[in-house]
């Protein structure tokens, strides 16, 4: 774990959906080139946290500073251009565009990296090269997730938020997801991983954050999150 000044500093973040508050005073720091695993049961506010940081959902309190910029004042496109890349829950691809067009869209914020970026994506995931002219909506779930991951691996963002990337995938495809995010980390990219496989996520991350009903119920070094803690907050199945 690096001791540099934090890349992302979230303090007392609050989010509201109409009359329902989804996040209460969530705080954490994320150092450069480190990984944070965000865990919690359904409805804990994990996805809300991701969407708020990436500019899709407005906050109603608190602050989030990313590389010296006030994240909460930026629009989603500006957040992306500032170097924060959000891989959303579900299949984060444009189903009507071809594989290659999806990758081109991912490069609109990094135009100078277009050709090398495409080559890198096809090198990491050769299956995408084979299907470059195929509409993304016709790919299998695993292939769509590869395409989504390629968005993060073909460019060099400063921070990737990966929201439930392994959801609904085969064990082999889940391995590819973790290997891809590990590759991103090796390239110096920080990662916020929102995951259903709590133990794997904690093994991957430096820090852990457990959310429960919109509040931070535990945070600390990932290796300190023992089985008892996971069982207490997540239940047996989620802690697997």
């Amino acid at each position: 774990m690096s001791t540099d000044a934090p890349l992302l500093r979230v303090k007392d973040l609050a989010v509201r959906y109409g009359s329902a508050q989804a996040l209460f005073d969530v705080s954490f720091d994320l150092s450069p080139n480190s990984a944070l695993a965000v865990l919690g049961p359904n409805g804990a506010g994990k996805t809300t946290l991701a969407r708020t940081l990436s500019g899709l959902v407005p906050s109603c309190g608190g602050s989030a500073e990313f590389a010296g910029q006030d994240l909460l004042k930026l629009t989603a496109p500006r957040v992306r251009r500032a170097g924060l890349l959000h891989l959303p829950e579900g299949r984060g691809v444009f189903p009507g565009l071809t594989v290659q067009e999806n990758l081109r869209m991912a490069l609109t914020a990094d135009k100078q990296a277009r050709n090398p970026g495409l080559e890198r994506a096809f090198e990491i995931f050769p299956v995408l090269a084979e299907r470059r002219r195929q509409p993304a909506g016709t790919l299998s779930g695993g292939e769509q997730q590869m395409l989504s991951l390629a968005r993060a691996l073909m460019v060099s963002p400063r921070l990737v938020i990966a929201d439930e990337m392994s959801l609904g995938l085969s064990p082999k495809a889940v391995d590819i997801v973790f290997a891809s995010l590990a590759r991103a980390r090796d390239n110096g990219v920080s990662v916020i991983m929102i995951e259903q496989f709590a133990r794997r996520a904690l093994d991957f991350a430096d820090q852990g954050l457990i959310l429960h009903r919109g509040r931070s119920s535990w945070s600390g070094p990932a290796q300190e999150a023992g089985e008892e803690l996971l069982h207490r907050y997540l239940g047996g199945a989620a802690a697997a």
């Binding site: 509201r16 959906y17 109409g18 329902a20 989804a22 409805g43 506010g45 996805t47 809300t48 969407r51 990436s54 500019g55 899709l56 959902v57 407005p58 906050s59 109603c60 309190g61 909460l72 004042k73 930026l74 629009t75 989603a76 496109p77 992306r80 251009r81 890349l85 959000h86 959303p88 829950e89 579900g90 299949r91 984060g92 691809v93 444009f94 189903p95 009507g96 565009l97 067009e101 081109r104 869209m105 991912a106 609109t108 914020a109 968005r151 919109g214």
Partner: protein, 674 residues
Amino acid sequence: MLSYVLAGLALGAVYAVAAGSLVITYVASGVFNLAFAAMAFTVARFYYFLNTEQGWAIPPAAVVSLMIFAPVFGALLYAVLFRHLRLRSTLVKLMATVGLSVALPPLVQLVLGHLTNVTAPALAPRPLAVFHPFGAVLNADQLATYIGLAVVLVVGVGVLRFTEVGLRVRALVDSEALTSLSGTNPGRVSLGVWAVSGTLAGLAGILVAPTSGLSAEGMTYMMSAAFAAVIAARLRSLAVAVVVALTMGVVTDVVQKYLDPSSSFTAAVIPSVPFAFMLVFLLYYAVRGEAGDAVAGGALDRAISPQGGDPSLMRTAAVPQGRISSSSIGTLAVVVVIAVVPAGLDRYWAGLVAAGIAAAIALLSYTLVTGEGAMVWLSQITFAGVGAVVAAELVDRWSWPPLLAVFLGSVLVVPVGVLLGLLTIRLGDLYVALVTLTFGSLVQTLVLTQDPFYDFGSGQPMERPSFAQDNQVFAYLALAVFLLVGLVILNVRRSTAGLAVAAVRWSENGAKTLGISVIQTKVLLSALATYIAALGGGFLAMNFRYTLPDSFHPSLGLVWLAVLVTMGSRSIVAALIAGVVLYVMPGIFASYLPDKFADVPTILFGLGAIGLATHPEGVVAQTGANLARLFTRRPGWAGTAATTLTAPPDPAEAAPHDRSARGEVQQLPTGGQP
């Protein structure tokens, strides 16, 4: 024969430009632009101003109109209106664009002047050159139309398929949220789409002006015909829209070769061709279950989009037993004022108030079908017109007493509404709106404007009851009937059937799981709403003593609905205010202001509907809530804090933290997954 085909292709090319533009803007922005005709008229009128009135040559006039004025105009409309609409309900989207289509033409006429002669040149020089390919006749206007379509298709397809801008537009069609996560500003892309839409609307308007006339009505017919191609394309496929539009144009012209040009049958058949196309495609898609609502964006867009914004889905708080709500006091006050007013007015003004109250009866049918049932029906005015005709027939031919004829004659119209309800039950909101609007146009063309019902516009005579010959008395009679119908609606709302209606309104699937029959509920609403509309039509005919078929034109129905929804689509008293405003305000302008301001009420009606984009709950509901809030601040006031607990009108308004700094996707989600 070839001449007919060539002329048909020119007509089809205009339809194709219009349909293509409607499809592109719909898929890219989620807004079905009912103001396309008004935009076409605006640009074409500006071109006419430069070319004919200012004497500019065709090329500079066309370049300035289509390349500068039209895109700036389209972008301006996006900035002030369309950008607020993407995540609104179908009703609000339609009403806002209806408002624009209502307000824009008179506004343009106010600025550029009223045209007495609507014949206008297009893009070909005058005198018009005529060519004879393969012995057929082809004039330069038709050639210009072909070229216009070819340029639009080549440039449009080229840009969409092969450029970075096109890629971003197509990405936006798939998902606005993902587009913004990719670093592209969706607002800028939409701005560009609407700028192009302005140019396409202008091109269609200029090209169609020589044949349809430079008038909002001519452009509206062109747009209505293009709807058929858009529906054939299931609102999404540009290629299908263009092919069907061209086919429709050819069929429309070729059938004329085999029909007697002087017969009334021909006069009815020709304008019905696009509607026949629409009906065939609709039935085809409805049978296959493929005419549901197209949902804008992907799963992520739906998850972060706000729910609500539909005036019919606004929540109202229950009033504690034994207390009088502030809205009841407001309702009583409005009724008392409207009841007192006719007594102090002369015959003319009392007649206008009576007409307004009669119209309010018909407007209650919208309150029921749209406000309660959340069904966007645009044919209620047609039911009113048919009700007027049926009642007049019963009085004239069968010597029925007028009141009996109106009350029982309206029953005869109910099966039509039930049939339409059954036909549209499986369609999505937008399809229902287009089908009912088309149905209204067809009935207007094939029935109401045909003799013996038309009679040079005055229609059939219609007597009043003998005791209500005086305008004041008739106004009170109409008010009594209005209150009676209002009470029926209130009782329906509170009954078990009303609960079922509310359940269906909130969630059809949820209602089905409770064992509620959606079909039965919607048919019940359709029947009741049709009856009320026909009743209102009968009262309007009694008021004017003639059926006046032109006063039931579907385009006026859009104004009716615009005014009603502006006032509040679920409020009974709002219907009363809307009806009176509809007739009294133009009377005030006509009596006390110069002629040039005669169209100002129409402009205001349109602007009111446009305001729904930011205040979907309507003026009356909003004012009532504001007043209630004001009173509840006073100690001791027992009122129910905001009897109308409305959802935030602009979702972003409820986001207190820096909403202005964040883009359009940052609207407050009330229904997203937390």
